[in-house]
Symmetry: D2
Subunit: 349 residues, 4 copies
Amino acid sequence: MSNSFGKIFTITTFGESHGPAIGGVIDGCPSGIELDFDAIQKDMDRRKPGQSKIVTQRKEPDEVKFLSGIFEGKTTGASIGFIIENVHQRSNDYSHIKDSYRPSHADYTYDKKYGNRDYRGGGRTSARETANWVVGGAIAKQAIPSIKINAFTSSVGDIFMEKPYQDIDFDKIESNIVRCPDEASAEKMIQRINEIKKQGDTIGGTVTCVIQNVPVGLGEPIFDKLHAQLGKAMLSINAVKGFEYGSGFCGAKMKGSEHNDIFNGDGSTKTNLSGGIQGGISNGMDIYFRVAFKPVATIMQAQQTIDKDGNVVEMHGKGRHDPCVVPRAVPIVEALAAMVLTDFMILNK
Amino acid sequence: MSNSFGKIFTITTFGESHGPAIGGVIDGCPSGIELDFDAIQKDMDRRKPGQSKIVTQRKEPDEVKFLSGIFEGKTTGASIGFIIENVHQRSNDYSHIKDSYRPSHADYTYDKKYGNRDYRGGGRTSARETANWVVGGAIAKQAIPSIKINAFTSSVGDIFMEKPYQDIDFDKIESNIVRCPDEASAEKMIQRINEIKKQGDTIGGTVTCVIQNVPVGLGEPIFDKLHAQLGKAMLSINAVKGFEYGSGFCGAKMKGSEHNDIFNGDGSTKTNLSGGIQGGISNGMDIYFRVAFKPVATIMQAQQTIDKDGNVVEMHGKGRHDPCVVPRAVPIVEALAAMVLTDFMILNK
Amino acid sequence: MSNSFGKIFTITTFGESHGPAIGGVIDGCPSGIELDFDAIQKDMDRRKPGQSKIVTQRKEPDEVKFLSGIFEGKTTGASIGFIIENVHQRSNDYSHIKDSYRPSHADYTYDKKYGNRDYRGGGRTSARETANWVVGGAIAKQAIPSIKINAFTSSVGDIFMEKPYQDIDFDKIESNIVRCPDEASAEKMIQRINEIKKQGDTIGGTVTCVIQNVPVGLGEPIFDKLHAQLGKAMLSINAVKGFEYGSGFCGAKMKGSEHNDIFNGDGSTKTNLSGGIQGGISNGMDIYFRVAFKPVATIMQAQQTIDKDGNVVEMHGKGRHDPCVVPRAVPIVEALAAMVLTDFMILNK
Amino acid sequence: MSNSFGKIFTITTFGESHGPAIGGVIDGCPSGIELDFDAIQKDMDRRKPGQSKIVTQRKEPDEVKFLSGIFEGKTTGASIGFIIENVHQRSNDYSHIKDSYRPSHADYTYDKKYGNRDYRGGGRTSARETANWVVGGAIAKQAIPSIKINAFTSSVGDIFMEKPYQDIDFDKIESNIVRCPDEASAEKMIQRINEIKKQGDTIGGTVTCVIQNVPVGLGEPIFDKLHAQLGKAMLSINAVKGFEYGSGFCGAKMKGSEHNDIFNGDGSTKTNLSGGIQGGISNGMDIYFRVAFKPVATIMQAQQTIDKDGNVVEMHGKGRHDPCVVPRAVPIVEALAAMVLTDFMILNK
């Protein structure tokens, strides 16, 4: 069931970029949650294409149609089916990839694995799929209202937000189009993306996510550790190349005497290099992690590639694409984190 | 089933550091594999304590007793049960943690989650569990003999092996006790660990793993991507704080025009920043990834901590511990990678 | 994931009787299957309401809209999303059960378990759900074209088709509205249902299913035995009270010397009391099983029941209901059997 | 994971009849349960061979060695590993089946599916496996002490216990060796088994199970219905050919007006043809079901069969076998029911 995620609170998805609709089934959502549909649409709008000048100009309303599992505005505990129609597809933009493989896309691997593939817009491999996850995440957030999940852009290319997350105001994440809560960094990032876009190029970046107000005890031993499940979720996002939590790769350079988090009398810790998780189980401190996104593979420059018969051909990016995926990835990271946390909250009941 | 891993080729484990034995059940192993038991023991020996001066001095033979699933030396397709006896436990070393929580260990979170816990040697949270995985991995390797999996120590603290993996000889991994195939780096790493050990301190590091001769097409869409499953596996290892594959976090600083892997006529690529995986599916190039390990939390220095009642107490590390976990982690990384690959190979039949 | 079924070939469903649509996601379907959409609709028509005088008169076209996973008429290996719109619901028929529980329905248990429930038409507990399964089954049949699956009505009340299945012509199943391939029995059954309907009552019955041309080796040991998975599937159908395969409950009266199936030289057996399965694994002989359906709980007679507050009230069946569920259950039994077989065929590759 | 059962409370097993030991891993058991080890052994003794004159004379102490998951007599929430040594195997008894297939056993299907098989005593297909389940069930019972589970022999061949379960005293189940709580029926059953044994033949029978004091709300919609999961569990037992609950196959002959269970004011029902489950969810009434066992395939008479090359050969039963499996099946049925109930109780928390 490779199109499903989660153990109790689960999402199962379908849909291609240029089909009639994408959608999914959310199973295991507790009954009796009064849904705030505006909040769901708001998260959809944060992810949707065409929202600003630094993202793809494909226009999709991304309105969610719920088909089941909700009665008189409240969840019933039954599976929640939903669809999101594809409105603004332009399949003609993709005739050039029918028989050729875009470099660093999944065209080649899907063709070899499946033979028959919907090449238009990348078909099933399109990041359009992530709209389904935002639906699941938006509902998950409402299932665990006490837990606060905030993701933001922490770097674009070599421009890093230098402040620690403790010094920033999460309310400012949405105050700029790159979703970096530090204004000075945000400006530089936007400028950098604009430059890159003019070059017909793309650029990578990172998203940091902070989860607060987590009860002690979430996560299961050995193979369902809280951070392992978060990591798997994040590594499922298109273009992600790395995941670290707490001290992460920096922690690998440290000494134990520097790295250990000393307890306060109430069980909280003076430092939090553990990232809120010890032995795979939340300890009540903030959980934080960082996700690395590679630059988008579709560039508006000529590239050499091959066709199905192995002939070398030249290809030039067409269609409407993101110069940097990170601003739109912020709500996706939050959505997946919300689903992971909800799943463990239900298991931990 | 948080003590199970895998979809078709699965391992389910049990055991505490100071109980009579640890062990597990390997399910879904194909029938008819003629097992090389020496090769299994060899991997066990690479992980076992007491193997060199830079690891913990607990002595365990770590001999595997197979109880089922093997007939006349060959697998039968039935589940393979096995146990590894705990021979050299010294539970008295742990009386000091019965009522106190070691900093940056899982004592606190397990106590809050479960109430009743086997505190001796960390109980279920002990890295002794990883011996079980090495059994599973050693069998998995024999199920996919054509695929080559080599892990090695790529950094200890701030000492990095600078050479790219393409320039090294994997046969040299076992030629030194730190398991770094570059002799010059290895020497420095060993020296560093010795210094740290004398200080009663510990140090982190990274393991790099390279998987070669992988067929095109391993991995499943959306939530069972090959790298997501590898990432989840690695994040299950004790002390791991991060995972990156291919260009990893460095890729997040790059431009698309730099990062894209251009195809050769045969479907191979000129560069391999993708790390052998595109869209979650292997493309036939080398898969490589890096895993970050924090410094071991038990240090031979006095640390402040709390007891069960929240009183501040002083604690001093006792028992026999690793100053750096990385040399012994090398076969563990290989083992988990082997199980992930075998699972996908069976799914892909 | 209680709305999902299957291990590799899976279906995940959603939808209530009186919502806008029902539907689901089929995951794990192999790529490259050229779908016969007429065959799918034909199975839908066999299940749909209003098809004859002896079934409910609700009229539903039950047209399936496929939203993904199919490209140029062939499966792509991506998840197949589909919906079936609810056209002919009459929710007003259900106002009487808003606050009262219908006897031997799931109103009471759902209300106690979930609190908030869509009572209209039984909501999620409606057998309308089974239309989703017929979609999954119709695709599954096309994934395993060599295997022949035929279900039929083998009893209605105390009228039993007396002939063994070997003596009947499966092509005659669809020649009458009760789906019993023995004409004489069929006539009696139809007459019985008509009598019962006039009484405002309902009647139970059994469906027998025969699966032919099954390769040796389907089914997995211990907990995924072929017949256990078939049994679980059948017991998931609304109104089912029992499942038996091969000799079934009659076998419990027999002696070993009577019951054992003696081998022929080619591995086939002279008798087939085993029902084509030994040790949970198909042996190449015909698989056959029988499913018991209770009478539909909604009767057009006054019944005493209770409301939410425990007050005794009188209730009279309303709406459009089946006097006997068995004729419409035939394609449902086939559909679930087809999904189980397909799942094991893929596992057995 | 075909050797695993359950969703949260799970058991994963291994072991062959003539290997050194069988065993398993119980995962998901709540922490803090003070285990009564005598009660566990008592259930083992009810299943074990050699316990009376009407069962197989193989002598096995069937002592369980727990290896993990228990600390100071109480469960810790960690996975519970256990083994049961095989003491009294006589592998020589099986040399005659090395190259020939016993009729109505799984020798043929396992050989075709796996190629390499441990033929001694049936290897993995031996009912010795069920000893593992009794361990899991005995622990499960202690996890849900308020729920009462009683199984008993309800028929042997054509001798049926005629009384309804409401009229019998469950305390009398263990008062005779056939485990039928009605003394008069028990005597006839024992006599029947003795006759059959003298003939060198075997006989089938049924076990009925009654589960009392079940809270309302256990079971999950659609594919994890309580009775579907019970049915799957029972159909996993060696020799089982059928499962029915509540009115079962008799219900298929009834009219709705006869079959419906009318509510009392407190939500209980006047009759209980539903068998305590409506829409797959427990309604608080007694759950009861019946399981059909075929006669044991190994008979002490000459039978014709084939060898691996398809040659017809004569075979005569050897070894120590049960003339009727039903008396020893009683604790097995209870064990599986206990595990199913515990799993749903945890899910329902």
